[in-house]
């Protein structure tokens, strides 16, 4: 099989399985240089443009002479420059040969062409296309002009390579990292025996927690469990060997390249180590949201600027390998004990004496920026999968209320020019709006901007920097707890209030009454 045939298979099959088998068959049967160059192209490593689109157009104009408007009509109907040229200028009768390698030869052609003057180049290009089949011409032009895309992911290619040469995918991913040399020996290099180092660099199966409800908690013996916060980040293993430091997510993805700051911080750790933990946005002192973390995952290139605006860190909570030794058969308390001696950011753990301690910790989870608590059997070993009796998770139910914006004030720092600090109110028995909270964050930049404009247009009065606005906008706020307060007109004080969302779907009359907070307060006291 050659690259043209592979492309035809990938392009005309819809299922991932069919695409994978096509890739496997190609890697198994193609000339090794052909498969090397194909893998280079399929994994997006060949971005250099040998032929600019303007040159391709020039060739088409030359071929169409005074009928170039007709070429433009065709281009408009097809929508892709390479394809238009392939349809119009390739040899329609030629059938693609599907066995002999093409890529090395095409690369040589590209190099030759790119050395020529534009006029000679277009003539030569036309001559070249006229002896190619349509698919060949299409692929040649796509590869040459840097616009080659076909519906396969890098992961699928790696998976196919692993299957074709019967190797572990994690090892292939590791060996495909960084520079890829597309020569005839590429498969041999990948096939070399797996070294101890590579075995060490592979992630271990993650232990997953079972959900728990309040009544379940009462059945646990507090003296047999350890409790810590449940963090809302990306579960990951930080793997340090003698030679490398890698981060693997639970989705079997190597995400090392996305988090250079975490890798940098890990250089001081002892090697031969595997930590289980959570990648979190922000800093231990100032957590950011999960969304901030997503930004890091979605970027192809991590810039210095992104590292500043979206910092991340690794919070460890388990130790799977230490000094080269597998710790997973050790009880949790032993692993935690050793972990506590390693100089790494780690999750605080308590060993409760009573059920109340567990519940207290859960109540504090919100303030800590956690999404609940994890309860772990003190004697549990570390095993892969969702095993019962090892780890449980008990998530928080959010406390919320819908409140009306009555005052706004300009923010600070990045938000200096925006009215981003809101005073929010709810209704009392006399149908008056009374302030219950000041909230600063929770809206997107776009929402903040829109609200800022609205605030400027709907100001009733100004008190220095504070604007009183029309009671129209409703926000859902989230908060950690409620306490009685004599200092506030409403008689209550909310802890850590923040805006969860802008309720553009409701009006001020739909906002909550003080009685709502009374109910929440009695509920939380009952917990």
């Amino acid at each position: 099989m050659n690259f043209v045939h592979l492309f035809q298979m990938l392009d005309t099959n819809q299922s991932t399985n069919a695409k994978r088998s096509a890739l496997v068959e190609f890697i198994e049967t193609a000339h090794p240089l052909e498969s090397a160059l194909a893998v280079e192209a399929l994994t997006g490593r060949r971005e250099r443009r040998q032929l600019k689109p303007s040159l391709l157009k020039q060739a088409a104009y030359q071929a169409f002479a005074d009928e170039s408007w007709l070429f433009e009509e065709c281009y408009a109907a097809v929508g892709d420059l390479s394809e238009t040229l392939a349809i119009l200028l390739a040899n329609q009768e030629a059938v693609s040969q599907t066995e002999d390698p093409v890529l090395a030869q095409w690369q040589a052609c590209q190099r030759e062409l790119s050395k020529k003057e534009p006029d000679a180049l277009t003539s030569d290009l036309l001559g070249l296309l006229s002896v190619m089949s349509r698919d060949e011409a299409f692929l040649f032009l796509k590869l040459s002009s840097g616009g080659f895309r076909v519906g396969v992911s890098k992961g699928l290619v790696h998976d196919a390579i692993a299957r074709a040469i019967d190797m572990d995918r994690a090892v292939i991913e590791e060996r495909m990292m960084g520079a890829f040399i597309p020569d005839e020996d590429w498969l041999h290099r990948l096939k070399e025996p797996v070294t101890q180092h590579e075995l060490d660099a592979r992630p271990l199966p993650f232990l997953l927690a079972n959900p728990l409800s309040e009544s379940d908690v009462l059945e646990l013996d507090p003296n047999h469990v350890a409790v810590e916060y449940k963090w809302d980040g990306i579960r990951a293993q930080l793997i340090k060997t003698h030679e490398t430091i890698r981060l693997w997510s639970r989705g079997d993805q190597d995400i090392t390249e996305q988090f250079p700051d975490i890798i940098e911080a890990a250089t001081t750790l002892p090697s031969q180590l595997i930590l289980d933990g959570e990648i979190l946005a922000g800093s231990p002192e100032q957590l950011q949201t999960f969304n901030d973390l997503q930004t890091r995952l979605n970027r192809k290139r991590i810039t210095q600027n992104l590292l500043k605006t979206n910092p991340a860190f690794f919070k460890a909570y388990d130790l799977l390998r230490f000094d080269g030794e597998d710790m997973r058969t050790q009880p949790l308390t032993v692993r935690k004990n050793i972990l506590s001696k390693i100089n790494v950011i780690q999750s605080q753990v308590i060993y409760p004496a009573a059920h109340q301690d567990i519940q207290d910790m859960r109540l504090k989870a919100r303030i800590e920026g956690a999404e609940g608590i994890m309860i772990k059997d003190r004697q549990s070993t570390y095993v892969g999968g969702r095993k019962t009796g090892h780890w449980w998770k008990w998530k928080l139910d959010p406390m919320t209320a819908d409140c009306v914006l009555i005052y706004a004030q300009a923010g600070h720092g990045r938000r200096a020019s925006l009215h981003s600090d809101y005073t929010l109110a709810c209704w009392n028995q006399n149908n008056e709006l009374v302030p219950v909270a000041k909230a600063y964050s929770g809206l997107t930049d776009a929402e903040l901007k829109a609200m800022d404009q609205w605030i400027r247009k709907h100001t009733l009065q100004k008190f220095g920097p504070v604007r009183q606005v029309e009671a129209v906008q409703v926000f859902e706020i989230g908060f950690e707890g409620i306490a009685r307060s004599t200092r506030h007109k409403s008689g209550i004080a909310l802890r850590f209030p923040r805006i969860l969302r802008w309720r553009q779907d409701v009006g001020p009359q739909d906002a909550d009454h003080l009685s709502h907070f009374e109910t929440l307060m009695s509920d939380s006291n009952a917990v």
């Binding site: 005309t12 009509e73 929508g79 349809i87 299409f138």
Partner: protein, 340 residues
């Protein structure tokens, strides 16, 4: 409106709300509303509409027309045999589009007009090949009037089809070919017959038309109507109209692999947008080269282009071939975006 500065007095054919009309013959050509007398080029729904009092068509196409129209007066005429309506001599000539398809030649002694209807120049075992006719005025279709539309040979397409078919039955998937049920389906079955002893199963809409084709002596490959009771993967190719994609009809053959046979499949983006992953370029319309060849061979001094890329064709004829050409709006073509 059709004729502008022609030397002859009145244009032989004009456009009316009912469609193209020849006043001297008191006959409409492929009218889109009921009229007294309709000359029909072929039995596709956008050309053959029910409700007129009297229909004329080419012999061989009357059966298909009857299926389409129901109980109507249909008068078939042999190809090339003229008959008179008023002072106009009218004759049907092979268009090579589908069984019984015709170009219509109208001659009032002063000028000769030819309406091509839909046509192609490629050979098709299910119908008589297109016959070039000399005329003064040619009214041609322009569905695929762009140089990107150049049809590959049937040998090339059938090799590709057989390869695809075998590939999927080896992988335990039922190959399903979606194509227009009148004409395209039978053409592909006749091509299969010429090359192999392979057999197919067809959707009911195709089966009814197959019977009519076989009645007219067209040799199709062995076929049977896909029955409800046959469950599971089929090694026969399934031929069905495009509307079955996503319907319950295909469930019985699960898992299936869909392909489409159409001239539009020439463009990768069109195929990918249709969510059909394999396309075979087979069209019963004239491609770019055939359109130009036909205009030249007609030696017409005036050309009207009806449905499709009329703007491109008329500009090309005017600017590059020096043939006076104009666009003519009709209600033909594009029915659900399928290449008929």
């Amino acid at each position: 409106m059709v004729s502008k500065k022609r030397r002859h007095r009145d244009p032989l054919i004009i456009r009316t709300p009912e469609g193209l009309y020849c006043p001297k013959a008191r006959a409409h050509i492929d009218p889109w509303r009921p009229v007294d007398c309709a000359l029909i080029t072929h039995a596709h729904a956008d050309h053959a509409r029910a409700g007129s009092k009297h229909y004329h068509c080419a012999r061989g196409g009357e059966g298909l027309l009857a299926k389409r129209l129901g109980d109507h007066i249909i008068e078939p005429h042999s190809y090339g045999e003229p008959f008179s309506l008023g002072d106009v001599q009218i004759s049907f000539h092979p268009a090579g589009h589908v069984l019984g398809s015709a170009q219509i030649r109208l001659d009032d002694g002063e000028s000769v007009w030819v309406i091509t209807g839909d046509y192609k120049r490629d050979l098709d075992p299910t119908c008589q090949p297109f016959e070039p006719i000399l005329c003064d005025v040619l009214i041609t279709e322009a569905t695929f009037a762009l140089p990107i539309y150049r049809w590959p040979s049937m040998d090339q397409v059938m090799d590709q089809l057989f390869g695809w078919w075998d590939h999927h039955i080896r992988n335990q998937r039922t190959p399903v070919l979606l194509c227009y049920s009148l004409g395209k389906a039978q053409r592909i079955m006749a091509e299969i017959k010429q090359r192999s002893d392979r057999s197919v199963q067809v959707h009911g809409a195709v089966a009814n038309l197959n019977i009519e084709y076989e009645k007219q002596g067209v040799q199709l490959c062995p076929w049977q109507r896909a029955s409800e009771s046959d469950k599971g993967v089929s090694t026969d190719l399934i031929i069905a109209p495009p509307q079955v994609a996503g319907s319950s009809f295909l469930k019985r053959f699960h898992p299936t692999e869909l392909a489409m046979a159409s001239g539009w499949m020439q463009v990768r983006g069109v195929r990918r947008r249709s969510a059909i992953h394999q396309g075979f370029v087979v069209s019963d319309h004239a491609d770019w080269n055939s359109l130009i060849k036909t205009v030249k061979q007609s030696e017409a001094i005036e050309v009207f282009a009806t449905h499709g890329e009329t703007r491109v064709l008329t500009r090309y004829l005017n600017d590059h071939l020096g043939i006076s050409a104009e666009r003519l709006e009709t209600a033909f073509g594009i029915e659900d975006g399928i290449d008929q």
